[in-house]
């Protein structure tokens, strides 16, 4: 009866661990797991295998890459991981003859692996370790398996020897736990910076960013906007950018400031220098119709960090747009060897074989809507994707699609570029004399009307009464608060409820625009 109880305790520990792992992984962090696989790669065939075998722990990395693919379905990937952890636990308990009561100690390594996985956070974009998500788990699994087999083979037959070995093994198990625990803690950031263990567990923006990226990648623009709306915290600049891209492709770019356009730069960890170029530049450039730059950043990130499904797909689709079919075929051939992008590869291969299919595709429709007809330029973005786009569209002369007209106007406003906004506004008004001018553009233009150095004369322009009145009251409120000696920050906060959705509020009070 007592023995049965001990056995049950061991399994209860395991069940508790499994439950916690499922809650922490697919339930709470499904998007994170999906993003991990999206940023990893597995390519069938000998070349990829040979490449990994030439590195330290190559075989392990190959296995890890293969298994990481299954995070495409977070529940499936988690189940594989949890099975490996469970098997390791059971082997540890058996091999080192850990008593049922103390068997929870054999869960410590797995617990560390779980937290290590969750703790990665933004590092998932920057880590150069191939197959990192499964590497430690697999290494420990194989070591435990080898130890179990070895102990099984050496297990002596007589009772005295059995006792000696059993005690030795128990002793070793505690030493092993201690050594492993110390090593993991030593190498783990949490030990040094407890506050940093917040990324995946509680950083809502990190999760929002991942969800928005995926929705954007799948052209679910309404979902991007819904996700943005659900944000409780101050969004990151990248989230603002994602939101604006979604607004752009749903024809609502003039709602850019009404939906909130003030973001922050996330500072998750001093050791990571977060850059938009690594977090989302290829997709951002692609959705702005900058094919060469989208290709470039997918390439750069693959070179400097890791090749990934995300980057392979981007390089393939950009190559198709550029009619570089041979290189596109190369990337598609690789994707065909993956577990989950095979179908994607065949669908995109069809675009090359049948141009009608390509022209009818959603990608074509979206990208061509913002494809500018400006001559080729030789320039560079210095790794600052957002700044480059703001400057490029602010400076773009003669936007050739209706959407581009909006993009140019909005980018000029976003970058507070008076001069280019005035020129774009002038063109816009002349091009569409009978079209109502969106309020946002009037809000920008009314600043121009009163500016001392404006390239255009707007004194005769008829602003909507509502804009006129609102601007007057904005100016009066602003003046009054200044008179009452409020600080600029206090004025901003006091005016935000009434004017926070106007361009003027952004223009006068949002000065922390940190591009990264």
């Amino acid at each position: 009866m007592k023995k049965n109880l001990k056995i049950q305790i061991k399994y209860i520990y395991l069940i508790l661990f499994i439950t916690a792992a499922y809650i922490l992984l697919p339930v709470m962090n499904g998007d994170y797991l999906y993003t991990i696989q999206d940023n990893s790669v597995f390519i069938g065939g000998s070349t990829f295998m040979k490449d990994l075998m030439g590195r330290e722990g190559g075989w392990l990395s190959w296995c890890s890459c293969y298994l990481t693919q299954f995070f495409y379905h977070p529940w499936l990937g988690s189940t594989i991981l949890i099975l490996l952890w469970s098997a390791t636990f059971l082997m540890l308990v058996r091999a080192f003859r850990i008593s049922s009561k103390w068997s929870f100690l054999a869960l410590l390594p797995q617990l560390f692996f779980l937290f290590e996985l969750l703790d990665y956070g933004y590092w998932l974009y920057y880590s150069k370790t191939i197959g990192w998500a499964f590497n430690h788990t697999l290494l420990f699994f194989f070591i435990t398996l080898a130890a179990t087999l070895l102990i099984g083979t050496l297990r002596p037959m007589n009772i005295f020897q059995k006792k000696v070995v059993a005690r030795t093994m128990e002793g070793m198990s505690f030493v092993l736990m201690f050594v492993l625990g110390t090593w993991l803690l030593g190498s783990w950031k949490f030990f040094h910076h407890p506050s940093e263990f917040t990324i995946t567990m509680s950083d809502a923006n990190f999760k929002h960013e991942m969800r928005m990226y995926r929705a954007l990648d799948e052209f679910r623009f309404d979902d991007v906007l819904n996700e943005y709306e659900s944000i409780q915290e101050t969004p990151t600049n990248l989230m603002v950018l994602y939101k604006n891209i979604a607004l752009m492709h749903t024809g609502q770019m003039d709602k850019m400031f009404a939906t909130g356009n003030c973001g922050i730069k996330p500072e998750p960890d001093d050791s990571i220098k977060l850059r938009t170029s690594q977090l989302g530049a290829p997709l951002i450039y692609y959705l702005f119709g900058h094919i060469n730059y989208a290709y470039r950043w997918a390439f750069e990130n693959s070179v400097q960090y890791r090749l990934s499904f995300r980057n392979l797909k981007m390089m393939a689709v950009c190559a198709i747009f550029n009619k570089d079919f041979d290189v596109a075929a190369k990337y598609l051939t690789m994707l065909k060897t993956s577990a989950y992008y095979r179908q994607w590869a065949f669908e995109h291969e069809a675009w090359m074989l049948n141009s009608t299919k390509f022209v009818q595709s959603k990608d074509y429709e979206i990208v061509t809507s913002v494809l500018n007809d400006q001559d080729n330029l030789l320039d560079g973005d210095d790794g600052l994707c957002q700044r480059y786009l703001l400057e490029f569209f602010s400076d773009l002369e003669h936007p050739n699609t209706p959407l581009l007209e909006d993009v140019c106007l909005c980018m000029s406003l976003w970058s507070k570029d008076y001069y280019t906004f005035a020129l774009h506004f002038y063109d816009y008004v002349n091009k569409h004399p009978n079209r109502p001018i969106p309020e946002l553009y009037q809000e920008g233009a009314i600043l121009q009307r009163d500016a001392e150095e404006s390239p255009i004369d707007l004194s005769g322009f008829m602003f909507d009464e509502i804009v006129n009145e609102k601007y007057k009251s904005f100016a009066i409120d602003y003046f009054n608060l200044q008179q009452r000696k409020f600080s600029p920050n206090e004025i901003a906060q006091q005016m935000k409820p009434r004017y926070g959705n106007t361009y003027w509020w952004y223009y006068y009070f949002y000065n922390d625009f940190e591009i990264y």
């Binding site: 390519i43 065939g45 000998s46 070349t47 990829f48 150069k128 900058h290 094919i291 060469n292 730059y293 290709y295 470039r296 390439f299 750069e300 990130n301 693959s302 070179v303 400097q304 090749l307 550029n322 570089d324 041979d326 290189v327 075929a329 190369k330 051939t333 690789m334 400006q374 001559d375 080729n376 330029l377 030789l378 320039d379 560079g380 973005d381």
Partner: protein, 498 residues
């Protein structure tokens, strides 16, 4: 016991299967065209000591069979879509086919039907090729780089080894770029390569002795860049360059690499001394290369005058990048006095009538020809789709385009084998992005033949390999200094040149 038997039997079956030659289907439907194979080895001429010309058949077949007929015999091969030739049998095939050809008949099973394709020939030249080549293995990247290595490949048996790998000294905070490996007279006891950023310097092997040198002096623009070993004296000509990189928003070429300034210097290996060779105003000199007798140095130079003082030179260069056109020059050299004289323009590529730009000249071992890459503008032709290989006849001074070697995509970095019978080029013909080493036969009549991609054990290797083969160079022997020896020396401080 039972298990042992099963294992032995399985091993035996596997061994037999590996030795089996597939049967040629008898009921195949004949197709009037050549089969689609990769690499394209149809009607190519190969050296009599090259490794097996393995290929894959790209007809969407489930099974393929290739029959290789040669004087005195035939063999069949085929596994899945791949045709991988046994190395020993290949030696037999080559030996029997010198100055003759190997006839290749390809059969592919598509669905339930076998198809046969128009046979093709692989011609075997009487000339052998240098046993080794070396190249830098690099992702064709824009700015970023990570793992780089200089590798050497034995052309006769697929054996590839690293000469040096930057990861042996790179750290997380400080990477190391390696480039411009170069050899004296195809031998490796005098060779060099550069290291930039982390542990920067030039690694020079001089008569088998390794040293690390800093070639930047107060008088030079930069450390040495593009090198050329003098064939007899212990001297190396280098260009010094101030280089920038920018990106096309739309153009298919994607990247431009431009020099805003460049000169030529001569480095005396024994004295550790640097001096200028050519330092002309408004001239961008680059890519030195010696004649085999060491009495002449060829190089490329572009005349470029900066007009706009209000912006930086690099900014003006970006705006006017298409105006930069390099022509081919030569300057005489006296190995005794070590003096240069008689600067001459050899090929005025930048002239209105030609309106082009040349790069990377290489003189043939008999001194009769100079190969170079030519494109519309600039000097970094690996990123220029229009770049092709041209050849100057030094006796007639006539230039011709080597149509047989070129493709619609970039060809650059030509080089000669030590016997002058083989030309190697870095070509992007396969996909436009990844540079591959192609070798073409150059016969005694001065005719270049269709080039072939250097064979690999796995014919699908190139399809899945996402790195370029940069600066392919012939060698007649392998590098004997080990990667570890290079790495140890790399960590030492560079000796400043005088």
């Amino acid at each position: 016991m039972k298990l042992k038997k099963i294992l032995s039997l399985t091993a035996l079956v596997a061994l037999l299967a590996s030795c089996t030659h597939p049967t040629v289907p008898t009921d195949a439907q004949a197709e009037s065209r050549l089969p689609r194979i990769f690499p394209d080895y149809t009607e190519v001429t190969i050296p009599c000591n090259i490794s097996p010309m393995n290929f894959s058949v790209q007809e969407g077949a489930s099974e393929v069979v290739a029959r290789l007929s040669f004087p005195g015999g035939e063999y069949t091969y085929g596994e899945g879509q791949k045709v991988q030739i046994d190395e020993q049998e290949w030696q037999e095939i080559l030996k029997a086919s010198i100055e003759k050809s190997i006839k290749v008949e390809v059969y592919a099973k598509i669905g339930d039907t076998w198809k046969s394709y128009k046979p093709f020939n692989i011609y075997v030249a009487p000339d052998s090729i240098d046993s080794y080549i070396s190249y830098r293995v690099i992702q064709p990247s824009y700015v970023a780089y990570e793992k780089l290595s200089i590798n050497q490949l034995n052309l006769t048996n697929f054996d590839e080894r690293e000469i040096y790998n930057n990861m042996s000294v790179s750290t997380e905070d400080m990477g190391q770029c390696i480039n411009c490996h170069s050899y004296k007279n195809y031998k490796t006891d005098n060779m060099l390569f550069h290291m930039r950023q982390g542990f920067g310097g030039t690694m020079i092997v001089s008569n088998g002795e390794l040293k690390k040198v800093d070639l930047k002096t107060a008088e030079t623009l930069s450390a040495g860049v593009y090198p050329a070993w003098h064939p007899t004296a212990n001297l190396i000509a280098f260009s010094t360059n101030k280089t920038g990189q920018s990106f096309h928003t739309k153009d298919a070429n994607k990247i431009e690499v431009q020099d805003t300034e460049s000169d030529l210097i001569l480095y005396d290996v024994e004295k550790n001394e640097v001096r200028n060779i050519v330092e002309l105003d408004d001239e961008l000199e680059v890519f030195p290369t010696w004649t085999p007798d060491g009495k002449k140095l060829y190089f490329c130079s572009a005349h470029f005058e900066y007009h706009n003082d209000s912006i930086e030179k690099s900014a003006e260069m970006i705006l006017r990048y298409k105006e930069v056109k390099y022509s081919l020059y030569s300057i005489d050299f006296d190995p005794k006095t070590k003096e240069f004289s008689n600067l001459q323009m050899v090929y005025d590529a930048a002239s209105d009538s030609i309106n082009a730009s040349v790069s990377l000249p290489r003189v043939s071992p008999d001194g009769k020809h100079v190969l170079f890459a030519q494109g519309e503008y600039g000097c970094f032709h690996v990123w220029h789709n229009d770049a092709d290989i041209y050849m100057l006849n030094t006796q007639t001074n006539k230039v011709k385009k080597l149509d047989a070697i070129n493709s619609p995509r970039s060809e650059s970095y030509p080089s000669w084998s030590s016997n002058g019978r083989w030309i190697m080029v870095a070509s992007r013909r396969d996909d436009g992005n990844y540079t591959r080493p192609y070798i073409a036969y150059f016969d005694r009549q001065g005719k270049a033949h269709k080039p072939f991609l250097i064979p690999q054990k796995d014919p699908n290797f190139y399809t899945f390999f996402l790195r370029s083969f940069n600066r392919p160079e012939f060698m007649i022997e392998p590098v004997s200094i080990t990667p570890q020896q290079f790495a140890t020396k790399a960590k030492e401080d560079a000796v400043p040149a005088q």
